[in-house]
Amino acid sequence: MDTGYAYSVSMSIPHGLLTLLRSGPMYGYQLRSEFERATGATWPLNIGQVYSTLTRLERDGLVVGHEPDGEGRQRYEITADGDDAVRTWFARPVELGDRPRDELAIKLALAATTPGVDARGIVQSQRTATMRRLQELTRLKREAPAEPPPEDLAWSLVLDNLRFTAEAELRWLDHCESQLARARARSTSPSVPHTTPTEEIVR
């Protein structure tokens, strides 16, 4: 793992596969379909990712590969160390610092401090894009049953996660827009009051 970003993005795949293997030995293609089923196909895996992850897990002693069957297919089984790794993963809360660096936050931070970049335009364009994404997620939620059947529970939870994340991003973008407007008002007119007449008269 060479960078923090790559580490955090790929972090959940080995643990996800190990978690699935606790139900019993599986082939690589089985693991891929089980992973996608459990996460609502939100993070599709290619089969190459699955096998390269299994190779690393085997190297680290967290899984063992069975002898290939007559068709050359190999099943993998979790080891005691692998089981411990899963227990530790579930027991340890995900820290903010473990998550990928946020490209949007970096982009806006740079835009706000770099001359010649329209930071407000970036906020507006991102807000429209995020709202469109949220509309699409809401459509999926709207079309799903209010009480999801057990087999859809994982997908429903992941969908809610994506919706709440988009809502939080929109809230943050509104906040950025207000802060940028205030900063601009301060830089052009140091005596501008915090509450303008417009805000008092019009809601």
């Binding site: 364009s125 709202m131 949220l134 709207r142 417009t198 008269i201």
Partner: protein, 240 residues
């Protein structure tokens, strides 16, 4: 003939005061809501959201520009005709429901029809039908104080769409409701829109706004974003 918009706000200014004290509540504002469409309006305090609703409902008058409801320009109507158009074409949904206490759900829904001259029996029949359309038959004889907030808001939607109304103006319709109940109300609003009614909904809740077909963002009295627009900026870098 092409179908006209249920609401057209065309290059509207609304200015309060004069001279140095003049304040633009909205400036150069243009929004269109078509039949079958639910449009959400978001924006910070002072962005002109309420002014937009008041202009659309004929409760306020544009200083410049045009506001058309169902193809009729409000600025050209005599007060009496404007009042009639408001009663017949526009339904309102408020954050705090505004059902009349002491009247049952059916009586509340029938009220705008009776105020418009319908006979009590006819109004009652239409009100009960409107409640039934929304799956609220069982509430017809209940008083507002005997209903939950979500039930009251659904009755308020029935009141807003009863008769031949083509435009619903909703001011924070989910503001007083918990998230789940708010979503039930939005589901209902969408269902009504799917049947051909147009709705303009002001909300501060992004999650609820995302139920709309289109989300429009206001700032300083003008539209700054619209999810219905397809174009994206070519560049946000100076000199690019």
């Amino acid at each position: 003939m092409s179908q006209h918009a249920a609401l057209s706000v065309i290059d509207v200014d609304r200015i309060h005061g004069r001279g140095n004290s003049a304040v633009h509540a909205v400036r150069g504002l243009s929004i269109e809501v078509r039949p079958g469409e639910l449009v959400a309006v978001m924006g910070p305090s002072g962005s002109g959201k309420s002014t937009l609703l008041n202009l659309a409902g004929g409760l306020d008058t544009a200083t410049a520009g045009q506001v058309l409801v169902d193809g009729v320009e409000l600025g050209e109507l005599a007060p009496r005709d404007l009042a009639r158009l408001r009663r017949r074409k526009v339904g309102y949904v408020f954050q705090d429901f505004n059902l009349v206490p002491g009247l049952t759900a059916a009586e509340n829904v029938a009220l705008p029809l009776e105020l418009d001259g319908a006979k009590a029996r006819v109004a009652r029949r239409q009100a009960v039908a409107a409640l039934a359309d929304l799956g609220l038959d069982d509430l017809a004889d209940r008083l507002p104080q005997d209903m939950s907030g979500g039930q009251q808001q659904r009755v308020a939607i029935a009141r807003a769409v009863v008769g031949e109304r083509s435009l619903i103006l909703a001011d924070e319709p989910t503001g007083a409701l918990d998230s789940e109940t708010g979503e039930q109300v939005l589901r209902l609003l969408r269902e009504r829109c799917a049947l051909g009614v147009a709705a303009l909904m002001v909300t501060h809740d992004a999650g609820h706004a995302s139920w709309a077909n289109r989300v429009v963002f206001l700032r300083d009295g003008a539209v700054v974003d619209d999810t219905g627009r397809s174009a994206e900026p070519e560049s946000l870098l100076a000199g690019a």
